[in-house]
Symmetry: C2
């Protein structure tokens, strides 16, 4: 509850490969469709079969992407293998103003950049219960080579070494992505009652 | 969820007269008896009819109280009208270690003293929805003189001027103390997932 109409919260969800964060995000959107939406990234890479513009990505060309960067119209962006990936600001801003909480599912470096630029952003790390379970999940997929698995585990070590720069850690137990989704929704609801997010609370209180 | 057995959290609940914080505390204890307990204050004043030692207060004499102060065995204390009131540390410590969240229902000055000494303490202000509703509640009791009401309203202004030093503000709507109790329980559960409260999360994660 709040004394005024609430703006939405920007939530960055990260998590190592094997954390199941994609499933957790899906559960959040399924369970709380009125409260949460997912930000769709823009990219300059070509769509893969089955990928839809505006659903999986906004597919735009390089000059258009660079123009947006120049306008400050990307919340964050990065270049991988000669292609840009980024978060268009306009959609996010619009949803936040309408009171929706916007989820960005991005990796650690992008997350930290966003937090630096927008300190109100909530950084949530989704983790497996333990490193051994993470390893078991990666091996259980059966589709990764030994080298892949080693690389992913090494990368997840680095990701988790940044944990203290995140606000919250939510454990995604095997087959319990719905619980993790509920926990994240509760975290967001609680965050909105923080006095530091309601600096005009007292003023509005006394005016009413 | 957490990677280790959790210690309880120390929660200070404050709120102006008319905020209904007493009812909210009762609802928390009724709804979550396994997770929360109430700290009982010590006092040197004489018991009033119906007050029980160990339930409403620990009634101890002045030399005993002063001895405890000297031992640092009071989390906080204050003197009113020639009597001491304070929070014995031993009971609180024991409950926290057993994983119970301990609620202290104390006023603003005591709350700020505790936060200074124990920065992990969660300060929660229970407020009515608005100042006009607060006034209506005080008048509705019918037992207060006009001067009483004016004094209480002035004091509540001062209390709410300290709101930003609290962590959370929870609104207690008319007849909805149960909702406020649920919100506080959710806040406490979420706080436990903050990375700053789980500094050994990564270490334990990698060991398991």
């Amino acid at each position: 509850m709040s004394v005024k109409k609430e703006k939405g919260l920007l939530i960055v969800l990260s998590g190592p490969a094997g954390s199941g964060k994609g499933t957790v995000v899906k559960e959040i959107l399924d369970r709380y469709p009125a409260d949460f939406c997912l930000s769709v990234s823009a990219t300059t890479r070509a769509p893969r079969p089955g990928e839809e513009h505006g659903v999986h990505y906004y597919f735009i060309d390089k000059p258009a992407f660079e123009e947006r960067i120049g306008q400050g119209a990307m919340l964050e962006y990065a270049e991988y293998c000669g292609n840009y990936y980024g978060t268009p600001a306009d959609y996010v801003q619009k949803q936040l103003e309408e009171g929706k909480n916007v989820i960005l599912e991005i990796e650690v470096q992008g997350a930290l950049k966003i937090k630096e630029r927008f300190p109100d952003t909530l950084l949530v790390m989704v983790t497996p219960p333990s490193f051994s379970i993470l390893e078991a999940r990666l091996r259980g997929r059966g589709t990764n080579t030994e080298e892949d698995i080693k690389n992913r585990l090494a990368h997840s070590r680095w990701e988790l070494s940044n944990l203290e720069r995140y606000d919250y850690a939510v454990i995604n137990e095997d087959g319990r992505a719905g619980d993790a989704a509920d926990e994240i929704a509760a975290i967001v609801a609680s965050e909105k009652k923080r006095t530091c997010r309601n600096k005009d609370f007292a003023r509005i209180f006394f005016e009413n």
